[in-house]
Symmetry: none
Subunit: 427 residues, 2 copies
């Protein structure tokens, strides 16, 4: 398989002023073309380091892809550095310059003298056109004899340069670079998908699927975060269809074994899955939150179109609000407290009645860092789910050292998962 | 100036499945500490390449910071690779293991055998505690004699490892790594603070303070994101006190010029500032949200102790909920629609009355991506603020190409800022 390295150039990246989304885009696209990528690096606008990094990348990989450093100012050094690296003179490209001039005429800004620089290209390199900005890139194919002069191993390598502006890079990739690379290598296609899990930890998942983690094609890898887990299945094949076919038996096995621990694929979230189920079953949901303070509601309404199933949610933070709005009996609050199974039940039934919804969901707990007691420590959360003729509840004992945000996030996920499991039983 | 390199570890990064936000966070934080960062790299879960990249980084920089590869599974290789690199045996840390066990007991998941691995640390390295997950990192100080054995130049270097989960990494950085690095370099102390702004754009801010952006000590740098802006002022001095004294005149100038555009410092947020003002003025706030769907409420209650001033919030997503719960007259909804100044006013007055609070806040708008019309495009948001004897409102025309999440975030910030400005007038 051919291999590529991505080199991001720009001091603003090293200072953290800019998030490097180009690298992710390029990484995904390369994987999609079946091109391996084993290293990615970032350097600032510095000639020595740009040249060092470019040389190191070309010594290892077949393709070097750079982003950034193609602008008109003195600290835009990419083209210059690459030309110096291979001792190629910089030619002034009249066609490119005419295009840059046209760009400025269209934008009605005067063209600064410095933009002439963007029409320079190393002798032997082709232009990688940019239809959305003034900075074109280059496609530079280097043959074995040129490479050997500079002690770089390999029969042939190619350098592609892109500007740092994401929209320009995306278009240049899709219009020119991607078709170029598809022809340059007759490579395998890669297809991958994520299987999202809730209610099972990363290591338990890894243990359950230990026999899959060493596979070569497809590969299976577990990732975790915020109480959720996912398995990424990646397959290679001559076509995307073939790659999918290779992945299918493993995906089927995971789906069957994980059962309802697996809630969805790729971009799906607990809230989007709950939303889909509610829509399909034409049910409405109303939520009464205490410790999560609006987080469940916010997540549910993050989904465009959620107004079809979310009509009214309440954040009843105080005891008075629980009594006044949800008719939680004062006796429950006095005898059992606001953080109790009894209160969760009264809240769920209260919001169901108030909102006239099909499902009423309640959450009450101690999010911390203050407010915990020996009997009711930080991390204790009660969740209630009521319908007109049923009620169920559950409670969590989350580790009390977790941050307030983390406890709230996990509690919200658990509540959404409870709704998901309830709705699944009805399908 | 000391220098650091950031090494991100994980095949999921090279495949583009995950966007590397950790690198940006670390880069920003290093810049804030006055630590140079000239290279950043990413490698997959591969022993040879992890070791190569770590060695290259340590040959160039004083500090190596890694993220990723600390999980319990077979493809988590960071600790192992570093130990092998310096031929250090891996010791089993009983204290760390006890903490991991506790974590599992609390979460009621059974602990898989593989998690034992996370209690291993190279002999000579200290633990970098992780209070939000099972994977601790290490802080490994390497002296000149150790380094010279492995042909690495330098009098002393330090390695810090973090897990890949951003929330765990952030907390570990702030709780342990940042204070450690501040003390690690003798010589000059660095002190920095952020002046947080709302209601003014990054370029307007940069223009207003153009004369400060080229200063050498203190340095001033603007950052922007999600409708907020901040100026970071960083000073160096023999002591932290001296650094503070050097920064003071610039901070004073910014505070005076920015006036109420500057809402706070460092970790302060609009919601924490609003919370402080409410507490000081012994006032309560109730919120009725529509388009933000619980986000304002969630942000307000992110603050521990917010139960002192938040009693009840409503998410009245549907017209029925607006009428039933907030007594919004049907005529307003028919004549002006739910997204209107009139509806915002009725909602604010309605929640004030229902919650018997001192301030009632309402938000209604079009968060998109669907639901916009020519008259009421995506991004149009009305905000109302009612007290027993006053009412004020405002509206936003946010760019309609922004994402739903971004529009909700900006609308929530604008609403919180309105409360802040109102409370400031009363002090």
């Amino acid at each position: 398989m051919p291999s590529a390295e991505i080199l991001s150039i720009g001091t603003e990246l090293l200072l953290g002023h800019v998030l490097d989304t180009n690298s992710q885009f390029l990484a995904r696209e390369l994987a999609g073309l079946g091109i391996d990528c084993f290293f990615r690096s970032t350097v600032g606008d510095n000639k020595v380091r740009i040249k060092d990094a470019a040389l190191a990348a070309l010594s290892r990989a077949d393709i070097l892809i750079t982003s950034g450093g193609l602008g008109p100012t003195a600290d835009d050094l990419t083209t210059e550095c690459l030309a110096e690296l291979f001792e190629a003179p910089l030619d002034f490209d009249e066609t490119v310059f005419a295009k840059i001039e046209k760009f400025f005429i269209a934008s009605r800004f005067p063209m600064p003298e410095s933009n002439r620089k963007q029409a320079l290209r190393p002798r032997g390199a082709d232009i990688l056109p940019n239809n959305n900005g003034t900075a074109p890139g280059i496609i530079w194919q280097l043959d074995e004899s040129t490479l050997s002069k500079f002690a770089i191993p390999g029969k042939g390598k190619v350098i592609l340069t892109f500007p740092g502006v994401p929209q320009e890079l995306y278009a240049m990739w899709n219009e020119t670079a991607k078709p170029f690379l598809q022809n340059y290598f007759s490579g395998k296609k890669i297809w991958s998908c994520q299987l999202k899990h809730f209610g099972i930890g990363e290591s338990a998942l890894a243990q359950k699927y230990a026999h899959l983690l060493d596979l070569a094609n497809p590969t299976v890898a577990p990732y975790a975060g915020f109480g959720e887990c996912r398995l990424t299945v990646t397959a290679k094949g001559a076509t995307e269809e073939e790659a999918k076919t290779i992945a299918k038996p493993v995906i089927d096995e995971i789906l069957q074994t994980s059962a309802d621990h697996c809630y969805g694929f790729d971009d799906e979230t607990l809230e989007s899955v709950v939303g889909k189920l509610l829509l399909a079953q034409k049910k409405t949901l109303a939520v009464a939150e205490s410790c999560t303070g609006g987080l469940v509601s916010q997540r549910l309404t993050d989904i465009s179109g959620s107004s079809a199933y979310i009509k009214l949610n309440l954040i009843t933070y105080s005891n008075e609000a629980k009594m006044d709005m949800l008719q939680v009996p004062e006796s429950i609050l006095v005898e059992h407290g606001a953080v109790s199974a009894q209160c969760a039940e009264a809240m769920a039934k209260g919001i169901l009645k108030l909102a006239k919804s099909d499902i009423g969901l309640s959450i009450t707990g101690v999010a911390g860092p203050d407010g915990g007691t020996e009997e009711k420590p930080v991390g204790l959360v009660y969740i209630g789910l009521a319908t007109r003729n049923a009620y169920r509840d559950s409670h969590l004992n989350l580790p009390s050292h977790l941050s307030r945000a983390n406890i709230r996030q996990r509690a919200a996920s658990a509540a959404l998962n409870m709704v998901r499991l309830f709705l699944l039983e009805n399908t």
